[in-house]
């Protein structure tokens, strides 16, 4: 298991050092600094073995978190834990920076004592932790409160405490998708996928039992096989959820979702944590709506000039508006000057980033726009050809490129007197660009 956990600043000075196992000595702290942080070349692996000691590291801005072990630990678990550790710290004091870590070192030690015991990760749900690691001392609690804390920390529903009350029961669902694309210069889709998340903000009283439904192909088809007298119902349902269903390649759920139930009935049921959490993640690859198409044209005019023309086309309903559109056209390292003309928005050559950045605030569907640029090059004797990085794009659209639709989110709280109808529900769809690249 994890033998020790160290946090360093960018210079390699130790900010936090907590050793869990006897086989990890103080020299391990230095070994990592010397061999990884101060290493000359680029990091070639997130796992480093130095003198039979393995170091796992992740970096958050310029802070290094390193977990150390001498055993054959579960490597995936160690990384998941390090990410979790970052989440927990962020939930307590915001951004992970040297300043914040130094200011909260006592708290961090307290957290590390709680969420890692002898190198074994323990309950690390922020909701639960915040009930008893407060930096205020807990002497004031009554006996009931104490046992409530412990039962929450160890319980089956570790992510929610009892007795939550809201005057207004309300929930928000955000379907956030990032659409990824790699396209060849000829416009052939090399790979495309959507990775989506359903984020829920719940402000519900008691211990509500929720059931979430979407236009998952498997579910819809299953219902399609229902008996005849259900036909009318089915028609209704299909109308309400739109025409199509989507094929989900794979999905993962927050630990509150009953996985065995999903596996057997493909129904998503859970008792949600209070406040915001990520209900599910999913991935689709079929029938993706690609909101934009990028058509590049790069022409080398002699050794010292490059002509670039890029056309973007929006491909969605004309009534919808895409926002925050940014096209990034890479330029060679030996660029000396750039002239740009664009039909819409603003374009600038940013020498420090070796790219022309073209920004458009808004763009409706089924439109197209164009930019042309002349790039002057300094003559070089560098034999190596310019690698021609792909043209990348950023945008935000108010629909889900995967076609996912929320069909329902039902809430049942048998003990309290509010019903599904009393809950105010909000659903929002946002599609963003992930890695959206077109080679040129």
């Amino acid at each position: 298991m994890i033998g020790g956990l160290f946090i360093y600043n960018h210079k390699g000075e130790v900010l936090i050092s907590r050793v869990y196992r006897d086989d990890i000595g103080r020299n391990a702290v230095d070994a990592f600094r010397v061999n990884v942080i101060h290493a000359r070349q680029q990091v070639r692996s997130p796992v480093t073995n130095i003198a039979r000691t393995s170091f796992f590291h992740v970096k958050r801005s310029n802070i290094w978190l390193a977990a150390v072990t001498k055993q054959n630990v579960n490597a995936a678990m160690v990384f998941e834990f390090l990410y979790k550790m970052c989440d927990v710290m962020a939930a307590y004091f915001g951004k992970i920076s040297e300043e914040n870590i130094k200011n909260n070192f006592v708290l961090i030690y307290e957290l590390l004592d709680e969420i890692l015991d002898f190198g074994y990760p323990q309950n690390s749900e922020t909701g639960a932790l915040k009930t008893f690691i407060t930096q205020q001392g807990i002497k004031s609690q009554t006996k009931e409160e104490q046992s409530q804390i412990t039962s929450q920390v160890t319980g089956q529903i570790g992510w929610r405490r009892e007795g939550i009350k809201y005057r207004r029961n309300e929930l928000f669902l955000d379907v956030l998708e990032s659409v990824n694309l790699l396209m060849s210069p000829q416009g052939q889709v090399l790979s495309a996928h959507v990775s989506g998340r359903v984020v829920m903000k719940s402000y519900l009283s008691g211990m509500p039992e929720c059931k979430f439904g979407m236009n998952d192909k498997i579910v819809i088809e299953k219902q399609g096989k229902g008996t005849a007298d259900e036909t009318s119902k089915r028609c209704l349902r299909q109308e309400s959820c739109g025409k199509q269903s989507i094929a989900i390649d794979d999905c993962t759920f927050h630990q509150c979702v009953r996985l065995s139930k999903f596996d057997s009935e493909r129904s998503i049921s859970f008792i949600p944590p209070d406040g915001e959490f990520e209900l599910m993640r999913y991935r689709t690859t079929k029938d993706i709506i690609l909101p934009f198409r990028v058509i590049p044209l790069v022409r080398e005019v002699g050794r010292t000039k490059l002509e670039v023309k890029v056309v973007i086309k929006s491909n969605f309903k004309p009534s919808l508006l895409a926002q925050k559109i940014e096209v990034r056209i890479p330029t060679p390292l030996n660029t000396s000057g750039v002239q740009v003309i664009c039909m819409k928005g603003k374009a600038k050559y940013k020498a420090s980033e070796n790219a022309i950045v073209w920004k458009i605030k808004r763009m409706a569907g089924m439109k197209e726009s164009q930019i042309s640029a002349e790039i002057e090059l300094l003559p070089t004797n560098d034999k190596k050809k310019w690698a021609r990085p792909p043209i990348s794009m950023n945008f935000e659209v108010p629909f889900a490129p995967s076609g996912l639709k929320v069909r329902y989110l039902k809430v049942f709280e048998p003990k309290l007197n509010y019903s599904d109808h009393d809950v105010i529900k909000w659903v929002r769809y946002i599609g963003r660009s992930g890695i959206y690249e077109t080679r040129c």
Binding site: M1, Y20, D22, V29, V43, R44, P46, R52, S54, T69, Q71, N72, N74, A75, A76, M77, F79, E80, Y83, E99, N103, F105, V106, Y109, E110, D117, F118, Q122, N123, S124, E125, F132, I138, K139, Q146, I149, T150, T154, G155, Q156, G158, L190, D249, D250, T252, F253, Q255, R258, L259, D263, M280, R281, R283, K383, K385, A387, R388, P390, S392, E437
Partner: protein, 946 residues
Amino acid sequence: MTDSKYFTTTKKGEIFELKAELNSDKKEKKKEAVKKVIASMTVGKDVSALFPDVVNCMQTDNLELKKLVYLYLMNYAKSQPDMAIMAVNTFVKDCEDPNPLIRALAVRTMGCIRVDKITEYLCEPLRKCLKDEDPYVRKTAAVCVAKLHDINAQLVEDQGFLDTLKDLISDSNPMVVANAVAALSEIAESHPSSNLLDLNPQSINKLLTALNECTEWGQIFILDCLANYMPKDDREAQSICERVTPRLSHANSAVVLSAVKVLMKFMEMLSKDLDYYGTLLKKLAPPLVTLLSAEPELQYVALRNINLIVQKRPEILKHEMKVFFVKYNDPIYVKLEKLDIMIRLASQANIAQVLAELKEYATEVDVDFVRKAVRAIGRCAIKVEQSAERCVSTLLDLIQTKVNYVVQEAIVVIKDIFRKYPNKYESVIATLCENLDSLDEPEARAAMIWIVGEYAERIDNADELLESFLEGFHDESTQVQLQLLTAIVKLFLKKPTETQELVQQVLSLATQDSDNPDLRDRGYIYWRLLSTDPVAAKEVVLAEKPLISEETDLIEPTLLDELICYIGTLASVYHKPPSAFVEGGRGVVHKSLPPRTASSESAESPETAPTGAPPGEQPDVIPAQGDLLGDLLNLDLGPPVSGPPLATSSVQMGAVDLLGGGLDSLMGDEPEGIGGTNFVAPPTAAVPANLGAPIGSGLSDLFDLTSGVGTLSGSYVAPKAVWLPAMKAKGLEISGTFTRQVGSISMDLQLTNKALQVMTDFAIQFNRNSFGLAPAAPLQVHAPLSPNQTVEISLPLSTVGSVMKMEPLNNLQVAVKNNIDVFYFSTLYPLHILFVEDGKMDRQMFLATWKDIPNENEAQFQIRDCPLNAEAASSKLQSSNIFTVAKRNVEGQDMLYQSLKLTNGIWVLAELRIQPGNPSCTLSLKCRAPEVSQHVYQAYETILKN
């Protein structure tokens, strides 16, 4: 005011000030001071001098302060054991506290203080806490048992904590169960033999139930524990799989990977005909792909594991090529891993896409990545024949870029393509030759030289090209020198008229001016070959080369199976068994996949065999670069050779399978299955053997060293001993010995008639014995044996007789008949008569096998009074078919690594350590059938001492 100020106090006299503050009456000031102490501790300052003062602050109501003091205690208690005792009372008191959080804190901290005196006091509170009413305390106590076990294992056993811990597996709280499982698994690892984690269907059921309820981390502990269970039949395996599959949808990647591990392992037990098997395969792909959208570090772990999974079960991900396409912004470690998997998944169906991608990658910036991409293009050409042409033209395009490392890499792979598809793409040679001057890496130079030598007849100026390399002969690396030597000899054989001078020059460079024994030896061999028999030389040097294999860098199958059992862990990231990087005995228990059910075996080979490979053929592994022991067929560039290694590996595998139940089962009644006896000599072996005769014995040593075949002088022969005294056999005295010469074993007998009558009608018969020795011909005594007459007879023996394990192993019971009576005697034969001529193992193979054989099979012996040096010992052993695979000098000691093979295909690996000046040497033997070790040692001793 913020806490960061504590990190900046660096003035002198600090310790004094802190001491004063710690003893202050004001609570706030005390707390501040402890914080300062902890900050100093963090940055590595020694604040142990403050121990008593800090411990004094322990008695407090303030929980935050208490935790800080505990933190200090955990760090320094070991250096101040006497003082640490002061804290015991507080701990014991805290363990009784009404607040469960404080009880848990006390027991958690006490377990971290590694001071004997404190551990004594820990037992009672721990016992109470294990039965505490509050689950939070119980789950903490469960881990504490593991802590205590780490400090004092005996104490834990004596106090009966292990039983209490086992009881916790049935606890009502899932988190307690999970921690108990984690603690027990850890303790069980240090006692591999104990039946601590007594997993049976009932307890497995409990674990599976807890799996649905506990935290993500708990699920990992439980899944990792489940993976160690061995279901009793396929039905149980299936039912566990069914209950584990829902975990594949968990948001935590570690849960997913641990679930994959359980499924991959238990799948071995499922029949392939089962519908469920297919369903399971389908279910595995999507979660593996999803792992690739995790953070880069996790992606890396996932990719390393996918690399194993793809080798074990290529069918799972065969349609998912696209997800492994490299993204421009992927970290380099992700890119390199993706590329590896792309090559593995490349097939005729997707080759066009893959090639387009690889071409794209070859223009990237990172040198390692570009090289690997170029190499991958070559691999594709070799793997998918239809794509070869496109690959070659892509490579030519890349050579046109003139980027130095791209060109070199391309030349190295083109050489392999030539090997795979002879006489197909030689038109590109001209282009390659243009780049001769830009090659500065040994591997690329060697590859180019090989090409020039191989196609010398088509390159007009081949002699000029090779001559240009010859100028700096001594500055070249060994690889290039060897290759140059071979290439020039080839050239000479093809164009003898113009190149005589050149060949003499290179031969003298290699034999007279070089210190490298490999080079010298090869030089001499060529020289003698050429001067003795040019036609034979042509046959040797220009022999047809064996085909190269299609798969690259495959992990050796037994290691792969072991690594599959370690999915998700560091071992799977390093692709090494835990014993390679974990110290001590912990965590190095050898794991293996459950045996396959028989019904599935038949269906297996056509499906799982890599595309293109004929079914049933063992895919062989391309050896790593840098094998110094090249062979005459100039295959030392490290291209994938499917000749000799293939042959040996298949024999090896056959032997291993049969070895299941030890020696007895190995010596079953089917001589075909044993492999060793009907082993077909690899093509390389055949050629020099033919040549053996005209060259004379002086050369034979050289030959043996490089090719491992063709022994001319026989094995050591012991003097004859009396086996059957005349007293016992009515006047017939038999003495004899065993010999082995040029591959045949014989029993040399001397029969003396000490009776007064004539003896006739001799016959001989052997009882069944361990190695199936049997007379290959009847006993031929031509004339009747008159009184006082003696005859010498050599009786040829075969090893295809019936097999029965004898005690001792080399016991042979013989019956001899004559006109008077039948007589019985038994004798012990020296084991070295069974050492076969092709017992030289490939160097890589040797390493892999040595590692593979478990350590308990290793036996060590001392050979006393044997004042030989390494060379002498080596050549002595060689003549008895014990072959030196490699030689090393470690701290003044000569280490000889040797291999030998018995007639029934058992390999024995040996390490002989010789210390100059010390008459005794140490012999370590490793063999899958350890019973033979003792006799091999005796053989060694007899050979070395005579």
